[in-house]
Amino acid sequence: MGRTLTEKILARAAGKDAVAPGEIVTATVDLAMFHDSSGPRRVAPRLKELGARVWDPSKVVVVSDHYVPAVDPESAAILKLTRDWVREQGIGAFYDMQGICHVMLAEGGHLRPGLFCVGGDSHSTMAGAYGCYMAGFGATEMTGVMVTGDIWTRVPATIRVDWNGAFADGVVAKDVMLHLCRTLGMDNAFKAIEYGGDTVRAMSMSERGVLTNMAAELGAESAIIEPDDKTLAAIRAAGVAIDDEEALRWRSDPDATYEAVHRFNAADLVPQVARPHSPENSGPVAEANSARIDQAYIGACVGAKLTDLQMAARVLKGRKVAKDVRLLIAPSSRATTEAAAKDGTLAILTEAGAIVMPSGCGACAGMGAGVLAAGEVCISSTNRNFKGRMGHKDAEVYLGSPYTVAASAIEGRIADPRSYLQ
């Protein structure tokens, strides 16, 4: 019987020939990631209570991204605790203010097809763009992983989502995900989403990461894309040697059983905007009724990679951010900032009036700089717009692609980016 890629990875990690959806297995963890907010400050006291140490420091990646740079003594203390614990446990893979955790896993060359990975963060699904399994877990379970190196899980059924055809200019992966939040809903618990089709194969690794990242908004356990030459090239670019044949054998069988198969035509999609206060409140940009904005935000693991900054620059080149609007840009990693400085992207953005901020989660989860006051309206390239996530509970956040955020910054109201791309 045919198996999906997710089932094959879980079978391998559980030491079984095959597994079926619904089955509960205990899987050996190849990689465990957590960050300053979910990690040491929550896990260290539990490990102490157990009198245990990290089972294998070489399999752990720690990233300080939520509280960077420190804005008060409390956040500074969390960052210090994280540094001290990483040193004490002998963990080598530690990224301190280098970028956002999900982006650092890719940049640092930690991901490759077939791995079974766990993360102390809900958007851990993003790693699946590299053909591996990764899901998010709470602090107690991550403590368990730190002690034993394994975790139990219920094998998810796989939903296949195929996109075929070419996008119109100005339509990108972010629009796909906002559209899927509405059409597939946000209640896909215990499901793995597998993306495919020629549209997905044509996407850059960075755009594929948007699809897997926002599978978290679909409520999915994990998301995955079968590896191809782009996957291998990205892994090599991160400085990791990889055996092509071994990596490319991680694919779903042609006769694999999917719980559902959804097919979409890329040419039909127009830029999407999610209205407050949920990603599933999405629709064509015109339906956002040109709402007036106070802030435009380009940030987060999902929406501030180099390609995202380049999208914004394409719209903003030679133009200005509207008076009374602030455009904040928090690149997803230090390397992104460096690359954007080198290729001229940053200069275009700052000339247009953008404020460039440190790399980190920033305002995305309301912990860092750039949060909103009551009554303020923001359009953001991040992934969630739940009430109160980006600051005051009475602020309103719209979600859109970097193109749409940039066009809106120019007009001071939610705007269709397509007219800026001709």
Partner: protein, 160 residues
């Protein structure tokens, strides 16, 4: 074998109904006395050890608060059966030592029915009928019987 009275609920029993946010500051024993009170005012008073909660779709949807599962366990609930669970509630329940089983035939059970559950064999019995469900593997039942993940880890480390 778990056996007791079935407490039947519908779809979408959320974490606020199971563990009202309002009482989260109280110790667990007190918070648990308010479990499900919004929809079943007598539940906390009348539930007996071994009773089984039977729900519909998306049981435990909402926040990640562990108290939602802890409150049921504190009250002596032996198992939760539901047509489907929210992922975090489901994981919390098992990790806190409360068996949770997917039970597609939940609609066959009425409130107040006598019910028996064998989580390892994957059998539910009620009204003279027997239903097959996806079992909890023995290796996970060891953790559940130890009282959950943390007590289980403690025991494991003490042995090592």
């Amino acid at each position: 074998m778990i056996s007791g009275r079935a407490w039947k609920f519908g779809d979408g029993i959320d974490t606020d109904v199971l563990a009202p946010g309002h009482y989260m500051k109280l110790p667990l024993e007190e918070a648990a006395t308010h479990c499900l009170e919004a929809i079943a005012p007598n539940f906390a008073k009348e539930v007996r050890p071994g009773d089984v909660v039977v729900g519909g779709a998306s049981f435990g949807i909402g926040s990640s608060r562990e108290q939602a599962a802890q409150a049921l366990k504190q009250l002596g609930v032996g198992a939760v059966l539901a047509t489907s669970f929210a992922r975090i509630f489901y994981r919390n329940a098992l990790n806190l030592g409360l068996p949770a089983l997917f039970f597609p035939q939940a609609n066959e059970i009425r409130d107040g029915d006598a019910i028996e559950v064998d989580p390892v064999a994957g059998i539910v019995r009620s009204n003279g009928r027997e239903f097959r469900v996806e079992p909890i593997p023995a290796h996970l039942m060891v953790m559940i019987e130890d009282g959950g993940l943390m007590p289980h880890l403690k025991k494991k480390l003490a042995r090592a």
